[in-house]
Symmetry: C2
Subunit: 289 residues, 2 copies
């Protein structure tokens, strides 16, 4: 047995890692709550320093601790409360969404996700991988609970004489005669986003258009300029429209912190549906109908 790490964040992270094979298990939710607690102990010691931004209706801070700085945290969405998070989990485990709005759900999940990312920024220099892996587990768990099924990351291809398997992002298979969800999960996309459309195109081509609902989940597109200490969102809305027209059709793009430029894609024709993550929990029955 490897030694138990003394750092509480590290210890709970390892515990989650040991249990992600069954992503729909409520025990995983308990571990996420413990991790949220442990992150709170770090953030309580840190100082929240305001950042400048021109983005309408958004305000950001960076946590600072021992000379290190975290990524930008949107204070309009950020309400660090393990109690609220546990109440949200109780709701989704009971399949009871009364009193939960899209805004409330988005806020709960954003606050946990960005807490962990900020703690890793403050404690591990240059570690980009751990926040990405953690965010994939977190969103994977919430989808698995909501859809009452575990995902796969590999699909068989049987195409005449070509037999192989295709590695994929999360695929949630709702069973015969029902759609499957194609769920790429990223902390941010930048210029790599074209991969999401390309993977959707491959799924459409190999298995047939309409069988997989492409619903990527992304944390944020913020970038902090270190000189001016100001926050911008890196967005390529015109390119997204071209990908949606010419590569494949995504059904939704869910964000925890919806970028202003992408929110406007809901209002052009043809629209590209960009929504806060919480909306998924309320509209999933319509999506699969």
């Amino acid at each position: 047995m490897p030694p138990v790490p003394r750092d509480p964040v590290e210890r709970v992270y390892r515990e989650i890692q040991r249990n992600v094979r069954d992503l729909s298990a409520p025990a995983l939710g308990e571990a996420f709550s413990d991790l949220y607690d442990a992150c709170g102990d770090v953030l309580t010691r840190a100082t929240a320093v305001p950042l400048a931004t021109q983005i309408p209706n958004k305000q950001y801070v960076s946590f600072e601790l021992d000379g290190r700085r975290s990524r930008a945290v949107n204070t309009v969405l950020f309400e660090r409360s393990v109690q609220d998070w546990r109440a949200f989990l109780d709701g989704i485990y009971a399949n009871d969404y009364s009193g939960l709005t899209s805004e409330v759900i988005t806020r709960r999940v954003y606050s946990l996700a960005i807490s962990f990312c900020a703690v890793i920024d403050l404690t591990r220099r240059g570690d980009q991988k751990t926040p990405g892996t953690f965010f994939e587990w977190l969103i994977g768990h919430l989808f698995a609970v909501r859809l009452a099924t575990n995902p796969t990351k590999r699909l068989p291809v049987l195409n005449l004489d070509l037999t192989t398997t295709l590695p994929t992002d999360f695929i949630f298979d709702l069973g015969e005669g029902r759609p499957k969800f194609h769920l790429p999960v990223k902390t941010s996309t930048r210029e790599r986003v074209i991969q999401v459309w390309a993977h959707q195109r491959v799924l459409d081509g190999v298995y047939g258009t309409g069988r997989f609902l492409g619903t990527p989940v992304i944390l944020t597109e913020t970038k902090t300029d270190q000189q001016s200490r100001s926050v911008v969102e890196i967005c390529l809305p015109e390119q997204w429209r071209i990908y949606q027209m010419h590569i494949a059709q995504l059904r939704r793009v869910y964000y925890l912190d919806v970028p202003a430029a992408y929110a406007r894609l809901n209002d052009v024709f043809p629209p590209l549906h960009v929504a806060p993550f919480g909306q998924f929990f309320l509209e999933v029955d319509d999506l699969v109908a």
Copy 2:
């Protein structure tokens, strides 16, 4: 004016950087020759340590200097000779390929490219960007000379009410009624390769299929295991076949160090044409016919 760097490799690199706006200029070839010279001074001081490999007909070494190690260098292709490189440049500037085979050209270009990459590995910790940028300039120069035209990296889109520009890899436009080359240039691809097919799909969709010949140029797919000091090639040939069938059609994939698993894609049906880079210089007239 910024100060002139004392490191000769750095100084010549900056000189190339100042001149890449005219990628077809022979002056750039002179600077590449000077850079090759400067890299030789570093590599002469380094020790070439053999690496293990199971890849048929390939042998690799890693250069070591002051406790640092370079990426794997294929000794079957590596013949460090600035004189041979200059003779090759004289040939392509004069559009005279007599005596030049695909193998000879590939060897000349590989030896310069991998020399620079190895020097950066030995002198700048963790710098992945400089080798990639340099390799793009080098291949861009050779394409620009061979096609007698400079590339663009941005294309206008005019599609009904949608007017924008599309950022692209190198595009070499041979003029009205002739094909354009779509030239992604990468030192290696790994899982990011699907982007190349996706960009080709966008070009086919926006401008019409057949107008852009997709011909990516890649240095190598080697990976050195640091524990066992052995070299493997990271290849996904079955996925490449699926991309070629379902996303878009690439006309050629050129490699400086052709991976064994991708070379075999020439022999399956439908074939995917993977060729040593030198072949481009000899077959380009057939490709555009």
